[in-house]
């Protein structure tokens, strides 16, 4: 294992040109996460969708008889 480390250090100066993922990977990841959180945060809370959540633990029963 130590020999591999030595070799790796020696070859370290031979860096291959950065590819698309090296250059933009972080940007794409964070950008995608930002788009996702904003859009779905809005959809889930502000849009006014009826999600049909369970009444258990949420709704207080009220007398219904006339």
């Amino acid at each position: 294992a130590r020999g591999v480390q030595h070799t790796a250090v020696r070859q370290a100066h031979r860096k291959h040109a950065p590819n698309f993922h090296d250059k933009y990977g972080n940007l794409v990841l964070l950008g995608g996460a930002a788009v996702f959180t904003t859009v779905w945060g809005y959809v889930l809370t502000q849009l006014g969708m009826e999600w049909g959540l369970s009444p258990v633990g949420r709704v207080t029963p009220r007398e219904w008889r006339e």
């Binding site: 090296d22 969708m49 007398e63 219904w64």
Partner: protein, 171 residues
């Protein structure tokens, strides 16, 4: 024994490869294309590829190959590295190195999931009608009480979640 019999029957000349034919100077014979020759490959399970990486050596590299035929202790570190790089493209460390591809993949996935959320926004704005009155708070609370009074789904469902003694949802 069978092989030698086959040889004498068929004759050695016809078992010549296309390269042999070329050497005999026959015009009109197709030169062996690169893809038909043994190829170099960087693979973990092929430690010694069939050919060296660098096929056509420069004069300097040819000189180094001559030097390699003598005692290896005479070679400098850089010469040894050069000989390695002539024979192999990537080291095992370089071959096995991971990439940042997962960032692009995950970012792309999240983005397009966001796009489907935008489709939902469009639908709500342009397509869906008003929410039925049976989803209002007053209606839902009355509906829930009626369901509990009727003991709807008492085994594992809604009535099993309500504490009828304390008049509250079970914790």
């Amino acid at each position: 024994m069978l092989a030698s019999r086959a040889f004498s029957l068929v004759g050695r000349r016809s078992i010549c490869t296309s390269l042999c034919l070329r050497a005999h100077g026959h015009a009109g014979v197709v030169k062996a294309d690169d893809f038909s020759l043994p190829a170099y490959v960087d693979r973990r399970d092929v430690p010694l590829p069939e050919v060296a990486f660098v096929r056509d050596l420069s004069a300097q590299q040819k000189a180094l190959k001559e030097k390699e035929k003598a005692s290896w202790t005479a070679l400098s570190i850089d010469e040894k590295v050069e000989l390695y790089r002539m024979k192999f493209n990537e080291t095992y460390a370089e071959m096995n190195k991971g990439t940042n591809e997962w960032k692009t993949v995950l970012g792309g996935v999240l983005f397009f999931l966001g796009v489907s959320g935008i489709i939902l926004i469009w639908q709500k704005h342009f397509m869906y009608g008003p929410i039925p009155h049976t989803f209002s708070e007053e209606w839902l609370s009355a509906q829930t009480k009626r369901m509990l009074d009727m003991r709807v789904n008492p085994v594992e469902g809604i009535s099993s979640q309500w504490d009828f003694e304390k008049n509250e949802w079970k914790k």
